[in-house]
Symmetry: C2
Subunit: 353 residues, 2 copies
């Protein structure tokens, strides 16, 4: 009988790690042992996965011994240090951080789009894309295949859980402070005063506000998040000259990143043809009936696997352009789910050994 590979989940106690354990419990099983790793202060915690209680181990080189695939849901600097350690101990690393995404020797994989790239991994590392990129690109790739993508103009509506559990706690704290004061947000009510100084990981209050900033400051006024959308989309689609302009905005939503997309193609488009391409696309659910109140929204997409796509319109002034709106669960497809899907693409390699 074929051996089932051993999987390590690094960062098992975080916001994405928690979703990962749910996914591993609910999806078709591909794994023998599942080993949970986290920072030493979390060692000893008990977590349930596949109905079994597992004890979290502290991250160490030895902890990767015997591991076939190691999934990393940790900050960039932790991945940068530990993914190569996992590889040195014999594992394939699937990394959800930004540490390796733009490395030429690391494939950036979205299983619905470029699954074949998992075999092209000279460093033994495979990267998972940014959560905003993932929500959008699953819907754009089928349209690219149909019409040949030339340019994207993107505006995001990003949830606070993209900044981790501390982001979620910050929004809930702020909402408790503003709820009940009906003057707030109007000319007579001061949201900054009501919210106070605790802004958590954000540069401004999120309650009753939108904040046109996510990530860190990069060149020429661009945010790191905006550059990720451009660079990762180019790499995943294999379009190094794709024109991309993005504005990333944080909104008072807990989970579910949305993107307003203006996509220009090489050939003429039509809205019904685009809908047909999306109806048949993997990882996409089409919700496009405004007369019935059907369009993609975070409160519906949260907890689901696909990217929700709707509001599909051909631009009135350009027969080669489409406007649409996409929402995806940033903790699932935007993080844990895509990582799990990549790892599952690797599992058959071990069965064949």
């Amino acid at each position: 009988m074929a051996r089932l590979p051993t999987l390590a989940v690094v960062g098992a106690t975080g916001a994405v790690g928690t979703v990962m354990l749910e996914l591993l419990s609910a999806r078709k099983n591909h794994w023998g042992e599942i080993r949970l790793l986290a920072s030493p202060r979390s060692a000893g915690r008990k977590l349930v996965c596949r109905g079994e209680e597992l004890t979290v181990q502290g991250l160490s080189a030895e902890a990767f011994d015997g591991v076939d695939v190691a999934m990393f849901d940790v900050p960039d600097e932790v991945s940068a240090e530990w993914a190569p350690v996992a590889v040195a101990r014999g594992a394939i690393a699937v990394d959800n951080s930004g540490a390796f995404r733009m490395d030429r020797d690391v494939p950036l994989v979205v299983p619905e789009i470029n699954p074949e790239q998992v075999r092209n991994r000279p460093k033994g590392i495979i990267a998972n894309a940014n959560c905003t990129t993932l929500a959008m690109i699953v819907a754009i790739a089928p349209l690219h295949r149909e019409y040949a993508l030339r340019e994207l103009v993107l505006a995001s509506y990003q949830a606070v859980s993209g900044a981790g559990q501390v982001g979620v706690d910050t929004l809930h704290d702020q909402l408790s402070k503003v709820a009940g004061d009906r003057a707030l947000g109007s000319r007579s009510g001061n949201v900054r005063q009501a919210v106070g100084d605790d802004l958590g990981p954000f540069p401004a209050p999120l309650a009753l506000n939108v904040v046109p900033w996510a990530g860190s400051l990069a060149d020429s006024g661009w945010s790191s998040e905006e550059l990720k959308l451009r660079n990762e989309t180019r790499k995943i689609l294999g379009l190094p000259d794709l024109k991309v302009s993005a504005t990333c905005v944080r909104v008072p939503v807990v989970t579910g990143h949305s993107v307003a997309v203006h996509a220009v193609f090489g050939s003429e488009v039509d809205a019904e043809g685009a809908r047909e391409a999306l109806r048949n696309a993997p990882g996409v659910i089409l919700v496009d009936d405004p007369a019935q109140g059907e369009f993609p929204m975070p409160i519906d997409a949260v907890g689901t696997d696909p990217s929700w796509v709707g509001r599909i319109r051909r631009s009135m002034d350009d027969p080669r352009a489409l406007d649409l709106f996409v929402t995806g669960d940033n903790l699932r497809k935007g993080a844990a789910l895509n990582t799990a899907q990549i790892a599952e693409l690797l599992a058959p390699e071990f069965a064949a050994r």
Copy 2:
């Protein structure tokens, strides 16, 4: 001594009317009598303007007798019926509704951009633009003068007060229901259930959500709000062939409409040149220092007159394109303020009579 003209405020008791009375009290005075008009059920209410208590009168043809300028802050169908009545009684009508904006014989005026158009009013009616158009166009016009605008791609973040006081009440009600339940908006918490069936004027819950819909369904999947952005921008700037694609989205903000703007011009742009043009532009405040957490946001723009503009970047892949973010108070510049400014442009005509 020159006679001061008589002003009528039609819709004095509504959300925009309330802001209008504050503005008329705070701005340099141009008016003799100010007459407050509203639906018959509001007749007899006492409101304060310029420190005086005034009694609201019911709307009737006779109520316009002796009125020089009549400002309308009422729904489309009320304006359509009553603005011509005011004109027939000798007034100039300044209308904030959508009833006359695209009428060839009605100028659409933004005082910072095309003030001379107030004289070109064959029907005696002057229209005020849509609130989302106004927030954006005050910032775009100076850039158009500098670089010659060719195309706009817009994504909006619209506040609930754009749907009137009932929109504000709906959001506050929903926030009271979701505040304190920390599972909501995460995979385990159902926002639709918590909010219940009372969605007010919106097609979906706004608390912990974004709703990619505003207005009514127009042709080919476009919303009326998206068409307004295109048609009004073309008319105000005098660019009948301007390419415009807009996606309008409602967000859980009380007051302050924001727009992510991608603007393509006829000539090369640079971000610092654009900032300089905006620094010197009327009705604009430049807030563009991300390193210091300075960007335009609804919680700062609410209660202020100008459009707040920032996040100005030259597109990385097109030297003729700029990306920026704009926020304006939809009840002030987006409605009452622009109407008051138009009326003030008319006041000197009466002094000269």
